[in-house]
């Protein structure tokens, strides 16, 4: 199935992330198995109940090339308690029961190791809406993306500040559900300020697609979210929430503040 056909059927993610006016859809992140299985589920479900548009569930990986120290540390801790890809899928399934669509974010090797076809079937059966693979550029995606699309999953590709327009056109073609806009040249991790070039990048991206655009990487505060309103459809927040958990705090408090800034 092409992404156009998926759009014609109306992807759940696409419908959820297009919000009225300048409202921003929030996509909080929970790392499967961090700090343990049950709390990673609880956090995801609590974000959904509080009004998050969708939940991103991270699959822990030994060598996360796109992630800064906060996500790395959370992933390492999740692996130390034995979290597998199958566990992550079942954690995502438990969060999906809350109703908000769930996207799985995983590096490519666990999928290859699991088998792309088997992964697509398992993820679809778990009620997962889409998949983000941060080390799979659009060029390399075909053998993996085909079974995902056939199973009815959205394939979300990433655009970076360094992507030329020709690449952006190809990336949005391959994407369904939404397009992920990496806000800065760098790895994940909370930043004090958003990148000054972000608005320009979002304009380039919105000109290239009718899909919702979610901004992610570095977004950490209500101020950041207010600045994004009317410029992006959605925002992903990961490290800021994980850092709260790492500090022994309840991440829902921050999630609620962030949600307030979106509406």
């Amino acid at each position: 199935m092409t992404s156009t056909e998926a759009r014609a059927q109306g992807s759940r993610l696409e419908l959820t992330l297009h919000r009225p006016g300048d409202e921003l859809a929030l996509i909080p992140y929970t790392m499967a198995g961090y700090p343990d299985r049950s709390r990673s589920i609880e956090h995801g479900r609590a974000y959904a109940r509080a009004g998050a548009a969708a939940i991103e569930v991270g699959v822990p990986y030994s060598d996360p090339l796109a992630d800064g120290p906060v996500v790395q540390r959370a992933g390492q801790a999740a692996l130390e308690v034995g979290t597998t890809l199958a566990d992550s899928i079942s954690i995502a399934a438990a969060i999906a029961e809350e109703g908000a669509p769930v996207v799985l974010m995983t590096y490519v090797n666990p999928i290859l190791s699991h088998g792309a076809q088997r992964f697509a079937t398992d993820a679809a059966r778990a009620g997962i809406a889409g998949v983000i693979i941060p080390d799979l550029p659009a060029e390399e995606s075909e053998p993996l993306a085909d079974p995902l699309r056939a199973a009815g999953l959205d394939t979300i590709f990433l655009v970076a500040p360094t992507s030329p327009d020709a690449r952006i056109r190809n990336i949005v073609q391959q994407s369904s559900g939404f397009v992920y806009c990496v806000t800065l040249a760098g790895v994940t991790g909370p930043r004090a300020e958003l990148d000054p070039g972000l608005e320009g990048l979002l304009l380039r991206l919105l000109a290239a697609t009718t899909l919702p655009v979610a901004a992610g990487f570095g977004i950490a505060t209500p101020v950041h979210l207010r600045r994004l309103r009317g410029k992006a459809d959605a925002a992903v927040v990961a490290s800021a929430l994980l850092a709260r958990i790492h500090a022994g705090e309840e991440p829902l408090t921050l999630a609620e503040e962030l949600l307030q800034a979106c509406r």
């Binding site: 060598d63 120290p69 040249a185």
Partner: protein, 393 residues
Amino acid sequence: MPTQTGRFGPYGGQYVPETLMAALAELESAWVEAWSDAAFQLELRAQQHAFIGRPTPLYSADRLSEEFGGARLHLKREDLCHTGAHKLNNALGQVMLARRMGKARIIAETGAGQHGVAAATACARFGLECVVFMGREDMRRQSVNVRRMRLLGAEVREVTLGTGTLKDATSEAIRDWVANVASTHYVIGSAVGPHPYPELVRELQRVIGDEARDQYLAAEGRLPDIVIACVGGGSNAIGMFTAFVGDQDVRLVGVEAAGRGVETGLHAASLTGGRPGVLHGSYSYVLQTEDGQVKPTHSISAGLDYPGVGPEHAFLRDLERVEYTAVTDAEAVAAFKLCTRLEGIIPALEPSHALARARGFAEELGPSGRILICLSGRGDKDLDSVEEFDDQH
């Protein structure tokens, strides 16, 4: 080889964050342009001669030959390269390319410290800023090289996350590149990583085999029966093998690190004990768990202590053009000592793996056999590791 999309058969590719894709395209076109430019080639040749000390000699290891039963052993003396290993062939070429691309900052990863020293040396020579990522464990066991890098003006950044070895240093270097891609060139240290690196590093290292083949023919009037090289990421091996791949009668043998024994799980033999997967941007053989997590490795030799291998080696293995085998820590240490005593050459622990494997082939071939070994580096950096090994055994 590779194909247009940067594949060696099914292996290779570009599995990296989108942020790096434009930089890889820029690197590829700058590389293709420089490599076909006669002026760049001339300048590289001049630097290889005056700065690295090329051509390195081909040496007939007569006493070692006698010890191994008579087959004639020759060593390609990459240990005589400036800074003590083949690594400078690659680092110098890449730093010259980076200058041409207008990049003022160089980053590199290092395991044994040999590539880090080579990168720091080339940067000192050309006045570029240099940051080297190195695992905590490797900084401990290769402390002399840490001091050399600092003297050369490089900043050495300790990597503590993960296992604190070469795998994690490489991941951290890639993350730095993602964040500084406009100003920075990443000088990768082996024939690994996303396209175009495996091809670029092979072309910069093939001078080893090109020289050795000519030298061998001139000295012996024929080609060797077997050519042996150690395989970490695979750069000295691919550099040696490329000249001989078309010589169907020459057996090519790559030697990986079996650590405490492949059956113990404490090893770094990706082709012998791994299966295909993605690591550091390319699809090749990877030591990984059933769930696709990259495994920690073990080798006495920091330069071979890596869970992946270059994609061209994966292809050459599937084609059965190169045989890959593995040698334990103990066998490598024994060969290290033997070569030192009998030849007056202290080899690095990495090529000591190749030397150790040569004994079996020498016995197999008998006195009429001819074996060429890539002596990829010298062993001054390894004295502590060998003493520590002796204390424990």
